[in-house]
Symmetry: C2
Subunit: 393 residues, 2 copies
Amino acid sequence: MRIEAVDFFYLSMPEVLDVGDGSQDALLVRVAAGGHVGWGECEAAPLVSIASFVCPMSHSACKPVRDSVLGQRIDGPDDIRRIGDLTRAQSLDLLQAEHTLSGIDMALWDLLGRVRGEPVYRLLGDRVATPKLPYASQLFGDDPATTYALAQQVRRSGYRAAKFGWGPYGRGSVADDALQVAAAREGLGDEGVLLIDAGTVWLDDVALAAARLPALQAAAVGWLEEPFISGALGAYRALAQRAGAVRLAAGEGCHNYSMAEHLLHHADLGYIQIDAGRIGGISVARRVAEAANAAGVTYVNHTFTSHLALSASLQPYAASAPGAICEYPVEPRQLALDITRSHLLPDADGFIRLPEGPGLGLEVAIERLAPYLVDVVIEVRGRTLYRTPVLMT
Amino acid sequence: MRIEAVDFFYLSMPEVLDVGDGSQDALLVRVAAGGHVGWGECEAAPLVSIASFVCPMSHSACKPVRDSVLGQRIDGPDDIRRIGDLTRAQSLDLLQAEHTLSGIDMALWDLLGRVRGEPVYRLLGDRVATPKLPYASQLFGDDPATTYALAQQVRRSGYRAAKFGWGPYGRGSVADDALQVAAAREGLGDEGVLLIDAGTVWLDDVALAAARLPALQAAAVGWLEEPFISGALGAYRALAQRAGAVRLAAGEGCHNYSMAEHLLHHADLGYIQIDAGRIGGISVARRVAEAANAAGVTYVNHTFTSHLALSASLQPYAASAPGAICEYPVEPRQLALDITRSHLLPDADGFIRLPEGPGLGLEVAIERLAPYLVDVVIEVRGRTLYRTPVLMT
């Protein structure tokens, strides 16, 4: 088969709020080859990722992603990896290319799985997918009372693990942050797994982060996520030495394999969190999962968007040890839910299981997406390089 | 002063060839504040960098670059750094943002220099700018005979240093590559400084790179540049141990401070090469120059475009030790030359000197640019987010 078409669909809530909620828009990618289609999703900044697919060439190492994808053979997993390598070489100087490639890579795995009647994780070489314990991923409330109520609600919904992040955390005083963490613990109860996400708020300042450790330790927090930007390896290492039982987690900012490798080897992490929609797709995420295993760091997905993205982000570590956790967006906007016809819901025991259907195992609900579709036109020298395609149901 | 306007001008040669020549297009940025203007240039993929300035917000950490720039105060160097920090925080998940910011940061330094009547390097804290020995930066010929002729021409033009790169190098056999390097050395003569650029062709494969070392050593090559992708720290370290007098150079791919820091501390480089048009502008490049000094690694600019970009890339290490080298694009397309009214030409001794005029010290030749201006329209939901501005002379 050859790749005949790659279509991008920019979807958005009618209003995008200035909050740390990544489910407010989405960029779906549909790839067609040999009469089959596959779907994927790029994380964040849809317009920019579309532009990096269609832009004019700047030079031989700065080509649009399109040039490395359209017309390529796609007969097996090696072709997907080859297309990724080609894109990285031909778009070396096009920074956004990795995000665009991510959705395309997912769609190619989905397509290949459908052709072969196999779930993606089996194409990746895993025989079974072990159930994952979902942690409810959500934003801190604006005040401790709201956070307490959110945590109680999470507990009532049956989650045994929860993560709170962003919002006011790290932006006020150490005492304010301590009250937020204590409220989350109180609402969740003593037995729940509590995780905290600082959203890179301290950049690379170890002292600011270390000042929060006593409250995190007192609340028996499982991990502190992204105290620093992804590249601040030395700061991670220094904080890890002072953090005791609180492990550090990071990795969602990785947009290539090297960045993840640096975190694995130089940051003293307990957990590495990879978003398949950013790092270059399922192919690169899988390489990281294998490297994490070898390095003794626990791999976890990063997902804050649709269940299509959730399925894609779980495939790379499908065969993890039983009881492994996974990020589970608990309060996505309606858009993120409407993208797929079915969803990865917790089973009777509260675990998430990867679908056993072919590819990513979910059907995109094209018939529901029209209200979210954003009309985009990109013209260069009077030629239309991109126009939002019609959604054919 | 407040930033009142930021305008992007996408310029291109009529035809862009599939060769490793970054001077075939350009993205100029003009920033206006308090009745003054400054100019900068973003490296590569103009359409994508424009999109990252104007795109709709995806969430609180994925805002268009515009949101962190327009309306900001700009009274001194600290404001420029503050705007950079704000952009990195508010566009954390917008990968292309660093390239867009790079040109804006340059333009802000240019503007501030014009307001204060000082060259940028003095605003950065250097008292004098030392002359730099330019190395003629160009592509390998398609065969050794062509490379020999190019090297002879470089020598006749008075250059005492030259770099050959890309083209066929690293894509054929070890013997082919050896002939290319020997031809470059023969054409340049025994006394010239010869540098070789592999353009990341071996990705992270140490053996492939090491096989080329004997020819590089025999030709007394000063540095081997980018044998690997920027993130392949372990491969750089391993090759450096086997490279003897051939030092390794890398860094042009860095798009933030952390990436450069990792190269400085984990790659055993002799030289770090920073493109101010990619790494986040002059502000970040200056931080790297200081860190390189502290780490005992020699800082060099990376520039393959206009003399505006060249001036911007030299400012961060203006006060280097005498005799320091600088990259000098020797065969740019006419576009790159037409961007500025004057040029940084070698003096009687063959050295390049930074202009002593205010800001970046060069005037953009607006009157010459109309033939190169690329018409772009970006519409989202029927609203025009970007339309190529009129060039007012």
